[in-house]
């Protein structure tokens, strides 16, 4: 289970997250919704181990491990995966090399032997074709010259190869057309498993038609203001976030 308690996070001396409490049991898919600038990406990045933020207070535990005490790579080895809102281009670093290095580092950390090159390529080809990435994408630099939609597909492709136990998807739906959205949703749904938790950050309910969440949380101004089932997403779509603010009477 992912257990976040009283998490306060600041950047550049400004508080962005102001006391997040969140529990996501194994096997569940939770959506985190909220307006732009409410702190969704900050939360996702802090869980994944980005160092530009200061954790002022609170804890983040994943299956008992204290994530905040671990480096970003150690979290990856413990099963954490972040699909970035804005995947960065890394010219000259081969896509497949990145995956192989990442996967083998994780396997080493888990005391497993490294995957043999043939098995690895077979796995990569299968997942790439499922997600609709052409083979020549594999040989290119990481996200180099990819369109917005291709970058998002690439994130999901990496996720299906690395098979994380905690997947955090930060606005993976934005910039995708309907077909791409369906492919991405299928990729995520295939990953649903009693041993995994999935966090979906979004501010539209569009994606949630394809990946039905167990719980929906609303994040506004750095705090979870409301939680509910999948119908909450529809309600938000209709009534907007101001309604939540009025309802909880805060901020």
């Amino acid at each position: 289970m992912l257990k976040i308690e009283n998490l306060h996070v600041a950047a550049d001396g400004k508080e962005i997250l102001s006391g997040i409490d969140l529990e996501i049991p194994l096997g569940e898919v939770h959506a985190i919704m909220g307006p732009n600038g409410s702190g969704k990406s900050t939360l996702a990045n802090v869980i994944a181990g980005r160092e530009d933020y200061t954790v002022v207070e609170g804890s983040v535990r994943w299956r008992g491990d204290d994530l905040l005490a671990m480096t970003a790579e150690e979290r990856a080895w413990a099963g954490v995966f972040l699909a970035f809102q804005y995947p960065i281009e890394i010219p000259g670093v081969n896509n497949v090399y990145l995956l192989k290095a990442g996967l083998n580092a994780k396997r080493r950390a888990q005391g497993l032997t490294e995957l043999d090159a043939m098995d690895f390529m077979a796995l990569v080809r299968e997942q790439a074709s499922r997600i609709g990435l052409e083979e020549d994408f594999l040989a290119r630099g990481v996200n180099e010259g990819f369109s917005g939609g291709e970058k998002k597909r690439n994130e999901i492709f990496q996720m299906t190869v690395l098979e994380p136990s905690l997947a955090i998807l930060d606005e993976t739906d934005s910039g995708l057309d309907i077909d791409a959205l369906r492919v991405v949703a299928e990729g995520v749904n295939r990953l649903r498993d009693p041993e995994r938790s999935i966090v979906m950050v979004t501010h539209y309910q569009r994606l949630l038609d394809h990946i039905v969440p167990d719980v929906v949380h609303v994040l506004i101004d750095g705090r979870i203001r409301m939680s509910g089932d999948k119908t909450l997403a529809h309600e938000l779509e209709e009534r907007g976030y101001d309604w939540v603010k009025a309802e909880v009477g805060g901020a």
């Binding site: 181990g49 790579e73 990856a76 890394i90 090399y97 990145l98 995956l99 990442g102």
Partner: protein, 425 residues
């Protein structure tokens, strides 16, 4: 022209050196490169040849093998401590590749034109004068019109002892001839020595040359190199100048685009660590209209290493429709590493296309985080990004065995050998 005339010419060159001396940091072109280290290591008579005339240094077959470029199918000329080694060389028949010493005897006229000291030469300095005065060896290659050298010519320069190796190469391609030259500089042992090399290249109309200069000398060695290229109409010149070794190295590369339609592409990489110093000065002279120049140099500086890049591009008044683009990017891996980078565009007419860019930076923290979030350790992520940065320059090296060799030499210096291997596949 007689041997005596050559003696006179050499005497004059020596006089010029005595007047000029070694360059000093007071000279604009040498502001960032202090040669005091060479004096300290080699003394005032730094120019003393490493090998007395007529003695032949030797190197074991296994040592030669260990320094070779594996799988590179090439013609080979070997110079050990500045002396040509005919027995170790493998040169094509019908190709005029004569060691300078023999040329002085057989064709003094040609030797004289090669050793001519011309103070108007871009970046002329005392090292060139000393080279003219003292160089006894070097390769002279002349390719007749329409001939294509079927394999690259690999010129191996191996330093094994203290003292200076003065080497003078001259390569001329006649009309539409084609050649690929690889100058490899390496060495063994701990003796402090100096390589002082001058290579003159003359490209006739429509000829094409690839020229790769790979310097990976020992950490105790010093390297002063020069490449002067003159290009006639529609000729093409593509070069890579790679500096990985030596305690201090300086390479002056000048290209004169002297005929319309001539094009050059200069690539360079300096990747150094420790207290090494690598200086690249380039001058591209657009003397006539309709020429193209491209320049792309990158630097990777670790520890207390210091890099210098100075790229001058001159576009003369009459050189309309000139097209030039220069870029220099530097990556500092340590807080103590340093680089002095200076593009210098001197454009004397309006009808030109000119672009340049120069950056000095550190590894991108967002890229580092992305790689670490995928499971790479911080050290690995740094290696991968550094490799990717530098390989932008090396990726255009051909053929594959040469590229692989240089990549290995570059990255095994910074990384564990097996990691370098992984990234290269």
């Amino acid at each position: 022209m007689s041997i005596a005339a050559i003696r006179t010419l050499r005497g004059r060159a020596w006089q010029i050196y005595e007047q000029m001396g070694m360059p000093t940091p007071q000279q604009e072109d040498w502001k960032y490169t202090d040669l005091g280290r060479i004096n300290a290591a080699l003394g005032d008579n730094w120019w003393k040849p490493a090998v007395p005339e007529r003695s032949i240094p030797s190197l074991g077959a296994d040592q030669l093998e260990a320094l070779a470029i594996p799988d590179l199918d090439a013609w080979i000329a070997v110079f050990i401590d500045g002396r040509f080694q005919a027995a170790l060389s493998d040169l094509p028949e019908g190709i005029d590749f004569a060691p300078l010493m023999r040329l002085v005897i057989d064709r003094p006229e040609q030797a004289a034109s090669m050793l001519e000291v011309d103070k108007r030469m871009p970046l002329f300095n005392g090292f060139v004068a000393v080279n003219s005065a003292l160089a006894t060896d070097g390769g002279v290659l002349l390719l007749k019109a329409n001939t294509v050298l079927d394999r690259p010519l690999l010129i191996r320069h191996i330093a094994t002892r203290s003292g200076t190796a003065h080497i003078r190469h001259s390569i001329r391609l006649k009309e539409r001839a084609e050649a690929h030259i690889v100058e490899h500089y390496c060495g063994i042992g701990e003796a402090a020595g100096l390589t002082n090399t001058v290579c003159q290249i003359d490209l006739a109309a429509g000829s094409r040359m690839r020229h790769d200069r790979i310097q990976m000398e020992q950490p105790c060695h010093y390297h002063i190199g020069r490449l002067s290229v003159t290009q006639a109409r529609d000729s093409q010149f593509e070069s890579h100048s790679v500096a990985l070794g030596a305690a201090l190295s300086r390479v002056d590369l000048s290209v004169e685009l002297a005929g319309p339609g001539a094009a050059c592409a200069l690539n360079g990489l300096y990747l150094i660590d420790g207290r090494r110093h690598a200086d690249h000065h380039t001058v591209i002279d657009h003397a006539v209209p309709h020429c193209t120049s491209r320049e792309h140099y990158r630097g990777v500086l670790d520890d207390r290493a210091r890099g210098v890049f100075n790229g001058k591009v001159v576009i003369r008044e009459g050189a309309i429709k000139s097209d030039t683009a220069q870029s220099n990017a530097n990556l500092l891996l340590s807080p103590f590493a340093e680089v002095d980078a200076k593009p210098e565009l001197m454009i004397y007419n309006d009808d030109v296309k000119a672009a340049h860019g120069c950056t000095v930076g550190r590894l991108d923290t967002r890229q580092l985080f992305y790689l670490r979030a995928r499971g790479l350790t911080e050290a690995d992520a740094r290696q991968v990004l550094t490799f990717a940065f530098a390989d932008e320059v090396l990726a255009s090296l051909k053929p594959a065995p040469l590229r692989r060799f240089v990549e290995h030499a570059a990255f095994s210096r910074l990384f564990h050998e097996e990691d370098a291997e992984e990234m290269l596949t």
